[in-house]
Point group: C2
Chain length 356, copies 2
């Protein structure tokens, strides 16, 4: 792989958006990273160019057969003006797990981290500094053969775009209401649930829309075989604290191996909080609630970091968790992870990578 | 919906490809149809323009969340030079079933048929006339909001492109070898299997590649819950003739409702062949083979029309069906459907639509 990244700077820098009204996913920085792949050359021609439309024939496989993977991570501005990435190596490793499932050629994770550092460095001024803001980084790989027919593409583009963001949920760190989905299925054993690929998100849309209409922020997914075991919540991994023990579903091939999930588990271990990764049924959670032992529930994900769950609704039965308040463990995880991300707390686990 | 389709003809028509070496999916005609959607205007601005790249920001939702649907149908050249479409109304109806599952706004199927007729009429010279050739028509809908975040898009494009093709499988009408997939799953009850959406095809790639490596043309999918019941074969519906009765899996929400499947069922009924749509397990098929009552197996789909199955391999056990030869029912369905499509046989069911 060619290691030197060509940089072509924009001649028409954009006006930066108001940091108080960023929302999520609306604004994009001045540049983007692109690298091509062909069967003959492997990954080649890494370059940073002005952010601009992609030109793709309508026959390009990206529009037809879903052989796409993506990632999401963030860069944070510290109080003293430095820029920190949070565990970018983990996202780049996960790309290869997604690639393998989607028949996309493998990728050098170390070079991926270099690419992220370089593009963020070029657009460093786009990393916002207001409370709750960050620069969302979206690497993705698309198949680019102009061809109709179901087979892996022979050519690809790896692209990184940057997006200054505020909070993902309007609720922020306030507890959300979650609908336990019993009709629609996101992923199943033997499928692509553990890969970060568009099909998983497309499959989740209808349940999410219907849950929103009923007044819920997200859905809690159950396994696709027995509709019994808890898998994920919306686009996050999920944790339950029962009788002092923090339980999260073990990683089956239908569950995305979240990096915030891994970070939360590591911190809890350090703190001496008992943790278990195992199958957990929705019935067990409701039973714990009846017995008064369901102490907390929360989701973990890059977009929202920690999202406390204040209410669950399963099959018409609504339960309130921790009186709809944020729990101690959720709050402490949020404080610690965002503190490390923003450089406010000491980075004992060595998770942050500074962009020079 | 605005009904008049603006037409802008190309000033640089392309050279047409050699009809003897079309393959499948490689060549595209001179024009394409595009129509836009916005929440305010609904579907608007239908137009035929020269075939050209789409320009889409890298943040466009089409690259990230898989909210895409597509269709596939064919136009055929008759011996006397006319051009016939095969059941285009069925494809346009299916778009709305796919749209509903993917949270894409509904669409006027009648106008969809008009759009197909108009674009095929404009590129009529691209409909090949050699034996086994046709013009493959690919309508698809992509989400076009430049936005990162999991929700339905507010804007879309409906596009139709045209592709002169030969046989989909190199085997043509010769029987194919099929691998019964027991590890990977294409779709599951509660998922999106019945919708024609890229995620289903992305999920199928790895199994297909591994089956190809083992010397098989396609995989036979089993249900995602029990891995017991037969669902589809590759990108086709599947039929088995056992003791004189033709059986095809009943349409669960994990199975695509194929239009060739429907046509085959209608013809068999007309011919007085006993048919059953029901759950059928792979064990039952193997048992029938042991008892000498498995007479034929075949797939149905737009790309290949009828594809006889000469061999199955399940869990290390290989069986040959009808001595690896094309069966009577498969052959007669192929002869009749392609005969109607090409205008050689009388179109008693009223399936063809002439493009003037």
């Amino acid at each position: 792989m060619q290691k030197s990244i060509l940089i072509e700077l924009t001649k028409t820098p954009k006006t930066k958006p108001d940091q108080n009204n960023l929302g999520f996913g609306h604004y994009f920085s001045d540049h983007m990273f692109i690298m091509n792949y062909s069967t003959e050359k492997g990954w080649y021609d890494p370059r940073i160019i002005p952010y601009a439309p992609l030109e793709l024939e309508p026959s390009t496989m990206v529009f037809h057969y879903g052989q796409i993977i993506f990632e999401g991570l963030k860069a944070y501005r510290t109080e003293d003006g430095r820029v920190l990435l949070f565990r970018p190596d983990k996202n780049m490793e996960r790309i290869n797990r997604s690639n393998e499932r989607l028949c996309i050629p493998p990728f050098d994770p170390g070079f991926g981290v270099e690419a992220i550092k370089t593009i963020v460095s070029v657009d460093k001024e786009w990393v916002p500094d207001q409370e709750g803001t960050s620069l969302y980084i979206r690497p993705f790989i698309i198949p680019t053969d102009p061809y109709l027919g179901v087979r892996p593409s022979n050519t690809y583009q790896f692209i990184i775009i940057l997006c200054p963001v505020g909070a993902y949920y309007p609720e922020g760190i306030n507890p959300v209401k979650i609908y336990v989905e019993t009709r629609y299925v996101r992923a199943v054993k033997g499928g692509v649930g553990y890969a970060k690929t568009p099909g998983n998100y497309a499959a989740s849309l209808k349940a999410q829309v219907e849950a929103n209409q009923k007044g819920f922020t997200q859905v809690l997914w159950l396994d696709g075989v027995e509709k019994k075991y808890v898998e994920e919540v919306g686009t996050m991994n999920v944790f339950f604290k029962i009788k002092g023990e923090v339980i999260t579903p073990s990683l089956e091939d239908s569950i995305l191996a979240g990096i915030t999930r891994d970070s939360a588990l590591q911190l809890l271990k350090t703190w001496g909080v008992p943790i278990r990764e195992r199958k957990i049924s929705i019935q067990e959670i409701y039973d714990a609630h009846s017995q008064g032992t369901l102490e907390e529930a929360f989701g973990t994900g890059t977009a929202a970091v920690i999202s406390p769950i204040g209410e669950l609704s399963w099959d018409g039965r609504r339960i309130s968790i921790n009186q709809g308040e944020i729990g101690k463990v959720s709050a402490e995880l949020y404080r610690t992870i965002t503190g490390i991300q923003k450089g406010v707390l000491k980075d004992d686990p060595g998770w942050t990578v500074e962009v020079k």
